[in-house]
Amino acid sequence: MAQLTYREAVARGIAQEMRRDERVVLVGEDVAGAGGVFKTTAGLLEEFGHDRVVDTPIAEQAILGAAMGAAMTGLRPIAEIMFSDFFAVCWDIVVNEIAKMRYMTNGQVTMPLVIKSGNGGGLRMGAQHSQAVENWAMAVPGLKVVTPSTPEDVVGLMAAAVRSDDPVLFFEHKGLYALKGEVPDGEIVHELGKARIRRPGRDATVVALGLMVGRTLAAADMLAQEGIDVEVIDVQSLVPLDTQTILGSISRTSRLFTVEENPRLLGWGAEIVSIAAEECFWDLDMPCRRITTPHIPLPSADSLEDSVLPSVDRIVQEIRKGVNT
């Protein structure tokens, strides 16, 4: 058992898989020599060498195209898109090529690749370096989408992503890189498509992702002191989505909240609320509520950014208000 940061866990997960399978290669801007701008790939060049850990030009389409072509012909690449905001410069390769290739070819092609990316806000980086864009990916058939919230999950989900024969978008929350946590020794492999109940509770189901998981747990502790006992689900994997765990929880609590970092419209919470409104409508005791960033880009000043991302206080207030209506 070791204490690792979330950032170190990324490198550990990749190293675990690169040791196991020499078809696994890593490619991206400054991922090799510099060990990544977020230091999530530190040490990999030293261990696996320049053939398997590759620094590229600033050319996200070329990077993901290379990963895709390699995945189609026998490798299992991991590509880094430094900030998830930059998916927009290579979105064609992701959504029109990588996601659709297997389907269009009627299964002739498999696409075992992982795209890892620093995601999310709270670091005062402004509107072009702070977005949480899991919902962009969730809307595209053919992509698997995960966001771990703890160091252990980083390792386990990275391993699962690398072993998946389908393309996985692996979102690392930049605001969690410094987070420390216990990580068991030895090989760790989780299963894709499992949500985790981080805190059981009876009064409401609160589904959160990434940075919002910790805030929601903190909010749950505060609410507990008021006698409101909420169940906190870390959804972790948006595709595949563990609807059993989520719907099961709602059937027990009768109340649904989502806590999302992304702007409001068509955040991933909209899918979860819609599923609930379709499939467990009769279980619901009260309106569902999505706690989100308003539908705006993120401002850069710390005071402004803090005022719009869901905070522990806001989560407490909204749940309290919701449960008491």
Binding site: P57, G65, A66, A70, T73, T105, V239
Partner: protein
């Protein structure tokens, strides 16, 4: 080549002339091609030509739905490459990819059936005319959004390099494609990593309905950019299949031996419109006529006759191809409609499309 950036009224641009007339095209000597290869090249040209004509007829009969882009007039490029490639080399092409797919030995029936949306189609009707793929034959796909596949080609080449397999990746694209960002990213990337990939620009003078010279800053859209990636400018006669075969051999050898990427510009012309919706009226009839005279099949047949190959041997090949095309047409038409449940298969590697538990 028409003068780039010359301002003119729509449809009144300078004519795009065949290589024989255009002195900026380097004509690689086409000699030294063994007879049996020449006959194979001739057969391939006939196949591509007759297949595309049949595809056109089937559109007209409303049997091919959606859109489709033919290579009529441009067959020598893919034929030349196809003959020069190793069986395990990779091809990537565009929405205009029937010829490139057939040139790797993919049989006609599944290709035609795919165009007709049948269950015996190459992708069982899930891809369509613009996305022909046959991994078994090294055809890693046809790509319908401009630019992406040049980047994907690098990936196949990278993997071949890591696997030390000696495979070369050949990536076909059009003149219009040289102006999109992905072209630039792919070429620089390939050069930086010295990847075994051959980029083949089929310069047919037009980006859909716009003369390439009107929207490109240099006269030769690919060759004049080669230096930007540290590559040699290569511009050849894309209607001469011997030239294309020799060009392909040299390029493949260079890439296979570790010399890094090659960028080839092949000058050609499409006989018809861009896609089936397009009558191609933006081209002067003199221009079209000049190119019809410089048709790859006509000039090749003439050459073979000059080289002493008997007329009736060529006729026999042509007729054999016709029989094949007829048979493929029958088989494709007779194909069943796809099983509707197949719409829900093979999104994921597990064979299904489930996104939840």
């Amino acid at each position: 080549m028409s003068n780039p950036l010359a301002r003119h009224r729509y449809g009144e641009h300078a004519a795009v002339l065949p290589p024989a007339v255009d002195t900026t095209v380097t004509t690689v000597p086409g000699g030294d091609v063994p007879d049996e290869i020449r006959l194979a090249l001739y057969r391939r040209l006939e196949e591509l030509r007759q297949f595309e004509k049949r595809a056109y007829d089937l559109f007209m009969q409303q049997l091919v739905k959606g859109t489709s882009h033919l290579s009529l007039g441009m067959e020598a490029i893919s034929a030349g490459f196809g003959a020069a490639m190793r069986a395990d080399d990779y091809t990537l092409a565009t929405y205009r990819g029937h010829a490139h797919t057939l040139s790797r030995g993919v049989p006609m029936t599944p290709v035609l059936a795919e165009l007709l949306g049948r269950g015996n189609g190459l992708m069982a009707g899930k891809g369509g005319s613009m996305h022909l793929t046959s991994i078994e034959h090294g055809v890693l796909g046809c790509y319908a959004i401009i630019g992406a596949h040049l980047c994907v080609a690098n990936g196949a080449a990278w993997s071949a390099k890591i696997r030390k397999s000696g495979q070369v990746t050949v990536c076909f694209f059009g003149d219009g494609t040289t102006n999109i960002g992905a072209f630039h990213e792919a070429l620089n990337y390939a050069a930086v990593f010295s990847l075994p990939v051959v980029f083949v620009c089929e310069n047919n003078g037009y980006m859909e309905y716009t003369p390439i010279g009107d929207i490109t800053a240099v006269p030769r859209p690919a060759a004049d950019r080669a230096a930007a990636y540290g590559l040699e400018p290569i511009c050849v006669d894309g209607n001469d299949v011997d030239v294309m075969y020799q060009t392909a051999r040299a390029a493949l050898q260079h890439a296979r031996e570790g010399g890094g990427p090659v960028l080839v510009e092949a000058i050609t012309y499409r006989h018809g419109g861009h896609s089936r919706a397009d009558p191609g009226k933006y081209r002067s009839s003199a221009e079209v006529a000049a190119w019809m005279d410089y048709d790859p099949l006509t000039i090749y047949r003439r050459r073979l006759l000059q080289l002493g190959i008997p007329d009736d041997e060529l006729d026999r090949i042509r007729d054999a191809v016709r029989a094949n095309v007829d048979l493929a047409t029958e088989e494709a038409k007779a194909g069943p409609l796809p099983d509707l449940s197949s719409a829900m298969t093979d999104l994921w590697a597990d064979g299904g499309s489930e996104w939840r538990n």
